[in-house]
């Protein structure tokens, strides 16, 4: 048992400026074993597997593949040593056939002529080996997502992969497709392939894996033998940290009988039958893992994506915003997750960013009242303590925290009442985080209402008055402040 480790990661550390994404993580996987890798969002799973593919170069540590030691991988080395990763986004060409995709980059050829027949024959053999029925001539774009994934796996095996790393492979699949994917995984295990399987669906992990490695906050926590472990233990290991960060205290701002937003059986955009109520002055936290459908939910409230059924009531009146513009005019604002691409207009000045939603209002005819424009910008620069020598500074030159403040300033200028924050402190340093929290409290005192999406457990529990948890597009639980508990939230987030 000692000598058949095909892949060993030893003491892997990865540092980014100001952050330690991985801290001395070790794990190993044996021939013919399925090893599950689990952890919360941001636990370091993706970074860890990227060190295996060569996409991330570790700051220190060793990678040992079949006894050969490497300081880091490169995509080429990974391939030569039989490591393949199946990402959620497939690396396929939809306009080429399954066979051609299998041999993408190194087609079978005679001279300069591609040997279509030979490739199709080889592809047929490769698919047969995995017990999957795909006509090699079918265009990959015409295959279901499940079959496209099979082609990816077959391609990896075709290229002699002995270590297969799968990142949330079941996420895009239907339950029937998941079943066939499991069969393929089990078949590969019996052929001696080592599989590292990342999933947030704990039932899959119990069904499939031999051992489980738990990561938390970039550190290795524990390895468990799947059949000897219990789901409660697993959840405790994933979240078991001391709540140490302090959050600014705030006075009670909730107005009991004034409901600002109510959703009734709201469906669409991947979500189903969502019911919730937010009272004025409240922070409702939305918990869940990446892909749980939280961003998708707020997109519908903000008019960015249309709902398919159900009702949205804003201040007691039914609304159906068809564009963000309509939602903004009603008093709804969104501070999006991707600050740089969706939140701020980077190439535009602070002054213009803050005024962007209200330009029409502060214009006479089509001419901007430049005095009012400046007044508005100055007011929110002062209120929000945006640090800048001049309001004509382009937003791309600001720090993350200040960019976030500009976006908040924009919504205050627009007189928004409900402000939706989607991961408001992602990529923001600790000091600026605290400032954002203080700011959120200030907004509440001014009578605003907050819907907060956060994947950081501490932030979610520290800032929310109430938490609702989503899993795969459905509400799996709701907790009042005195019921907040990491284990419970994690359990709800994992659909257990």
């Amino acid at each position: 048992m000692k000598d058949n480790y095909v892949l060993q990661l030893q003491n892997i550390t990865k540092e980014y400026p100001g952050v330690r994404a991985l801290n001395d993580v070790s794990l190993e996987v044996k021939e013919g074993e399925i090893l599950a890798l689990i952890g919360e969002n941001g636990a370091g799973k993706s970074t860890l597997i990227k060190t295996c593919s060569g996409a991330v170069i570790p700051t220190s540590g060793k990678i040992i593949v079949n006894g050969k030691e490497f300081a880091h991988m490169t995509p080429q080395l990974a391939k030569e040593n039989g490591i393949a990763i199946i990402y959620q986004e497939f690396n396929n060409v939809k306009g080429l056939s399954a066979a051609e995709n299998l041999f993408l980059g190194n087609p079978i050829r005679k001279g300069i002529i591609i040997d279509q027949k030979a490739m199709e024959k080889e592809a047929e053999k490769a698919f047969a080996q995995l017990n999957i029925k795909i006509d090699p001539k079918t265009l990959v774009g015409d295959l279901t997502v499940g079959y496209q994934q099979m082609v990816e796996i077959a391609k990896a095996i075709q290229q002699d992969a002995r270590i297969l790393i799968m990142d949330e492979p079941s996420a895009p699949l239907t339950s029937a497709e998941v079943e066939s994917m499991f069969k393929v995984c089990e078949l590969l295990r019996s052929k001696g392939v080592a599989i590292i399987y990342i999933s947030h669906r704990l039932e899959e992990i119990y069904r499939l894996s031999d051992r489980i490695v738990v990561l938390r906050d970039g550190s290795y926590v524990k390895t468990l033998i799947t059949k000897d472990s219990h789901v409660d233990e697993l959840i405790r290991l994933m979240v078991g940290r001391d709540l140490k960060e302090t959050y600014p205290s705030r006075e009670e701002c909730i107005v009991e009988d004034e409901i600002i937003l109510e959703l009734q059986n709201l469906s669409g955009n991947g979500d189903k039958d969502i019911n919730l109520k937010i009272r004025k002055g409240e922070v409702l936290g939305l918990g869940g893992l990446v892909g749980a459908g939280r961003t998708e939910l707020v997109e519908m409230i903000f008019g960015s994506v249309r709902k398919t059924s159900g009702k949205i009531l804003f201040k007691g009146k039914e609304i159906d915003p068809k564009s963000p513009r309509e939602a903004i005019d009603l008093g709804i604002a969104l501070v999006p997750e991707d600050r740089k691409r969706h939140g701020a207009l980077l190439g535009v000045s602070i002054k213009n960013n803050i005024n962007m939603p209200i330009y029409k209002r502060i214009s006479r005819g089509s001419v901007i009242d430049s005095r009012q424009e400046m007044d508005v910008a100055q007011k929110y620069q002062k209120d929000l303590l945006i640090k800048t020598p001049t309001l004509n500074q382009l937003v791309k030159n600001l720090s993350g925290g200040n960019q976030q403040k500009v976006i908040i300033g924009k919504w205050l200028a627009a007189n928004s009442e409900l402000i939706i924050f989607d991961e408001p402190t992602r990529g923001i340093d600790v000091g600026a985080k605290f400032e954002i929290y203080t700011l959120i409290n200030k907004l509440l005192q001014q009578g605003k209402t907050i819907l907060l999406i956060s994947s950081e457990m501490e932030e979610l529990m520290g800032m929310s008055d109430r938490i609702m948890v989503l899993y795969e597009g459905r509400v799996t639980g709701e907790l009042e402040r005195n019921e907040f508990d990491q284990n419970t939230i994690m359990r709800m987030s994992s659909g257990v």
């Binding site: 963000p324 513009r325 999006p336 190439g347 213009n352 962007m356 502060i362 901007i368």
Partner: protein, 315 residues
């Protein structure tokens, strides 16, 4: 944020290029700086300058309008046809022609924004369609014989200053006003920077695109009217290939081809550079074919400079 002096130089670089080029031609041929030649240049660039204002908006939102040349041609033909064959008065003929230019712009907006065709293909298609329409309408032959007063627009003088130059200056002032003072001018920069962030800030991106292409059509239409008056006869090839010069002017003026950055004042410099380059090369007896080569290289240099800066900024 780095060095402000360096930034000022960068901002004004295009004007320095203009001055340098001006001096080169002035030394090469003294005729170049004669006042009659300078006015000729000003008159020549008027059409180019007017059309480049609309194109500035288009490129600011990261779009492109290849139909500008055809709009110029069609407006030439339509204006002439109305005045000569349909008995329209001068004013109404001009107004209808401008409307035609703008409507072609609206059509471009529809194809790009509502249907979702990429700007380069949509305006390429309308370019071809309206080129054909201009041939049909004109029967492939020139149309002439307008009211004497119509000449004023393209050939008249107000004091010592040619009327087309006054029109161009007024248009640049209007363009600059739109970009700097109007609220939709702010939208152009925003949309060019990031469509998604603009949408999430409450900008109606689709409507903004319609407006921009309509303005491009309108300014091209006005350029067409000025040209018609200057040549005093509508040629079915009047605006052939004009979009190339217009795009070159705008890009040379520092408007980023990927959208979001650019100033109207620098576009003026871009227009003047192309103007003196064309005129200077003629004076120096550079062949038409050679001129094409030079202009092509200028366009590649202008875009190349922009791209290199972008590349350096990201790495």
């Amino acid at each position: 944020m780095k060095s402000t002096a360096l930034n000022i130089i960068k901002e004004k670089a295009i004007w320095m290029v203009f001055v340098a080029l001006f001096l080169v031609f002035a030394f090469a041929n003294p005729l170049f700086v004669s006042s009659s030649n300078l006015f000729t240049i000003a008159r020549q660039v008027a059409v180019l300058g007017i059309a480049s204002i609309g194109m500035t908006f288009v490129i600011l939102i990261a779009g492109i309008d290849l139909s500008v040349g055809s709009i110029i041609t069609l407006v030439n033909v339509v204006g002439a046809y109305l005045m000569v064959n349909s008995g329209f008065g001068m004013v109404s003929a001009v107004l209808v022609s401008l409307l035609v230019g703008m409507l072609i712009g609206v059509l471009n907006g529809f194809l790009i924004s509502t249907i979702g065709i990429s700007a380069i293909i949509a305006t390429f298609a309308t370019q071809t369609v309206f080129k054909g329409l201009a041939y049909i309408l004109s029967g492939g032959t020139p149309i002439y014989g307008f009211d004497e007063r119509f000449k004023i627009i393209g050939q008249g003088y107000l004091g010592p200053v040619p009327v087309p130059v006054i029109i161009m200056i007024a248009c640049f002032a209007l363009g600059s006003f739109i970009l700097n003072k109007s609220y939709f001018g702010r939208y152009f920069y925003a949309v060019g920077g990031s469509e998604e962030a603009s949408r999430l800030s409450g900008i109606l991106v689709g409507r903004t695109k319609y407006l921009v292409y309509a303005l491009s059509g309108l300014f091209a239409g006005l350029a067409g009217i000025v040209m018609l008056s200057r040549t005093n006869s509508a040629q079915p090839t009047a605006g052939l290939g004009y979009e190339f010069d217009v795009i070159t002017c705008v890009v040379l003026g520092g408007v980023s081809i990927t959208g979001g950055y650019g100033k109207m004042s620098n576009v003026v410099a871009g227009v003047l550079i192309i103007g003196i380059l064309t005129n200077g090369m003629v004076l120096m007896n550079v062949s038409t074919y050679m001129q094409l080569i030079v202009k092509g290289i200028v366009l590649a240099l202008a875009v190349g400079f922009d791209s290199l800066q972008k590349k350096r900024a990201t790495t």
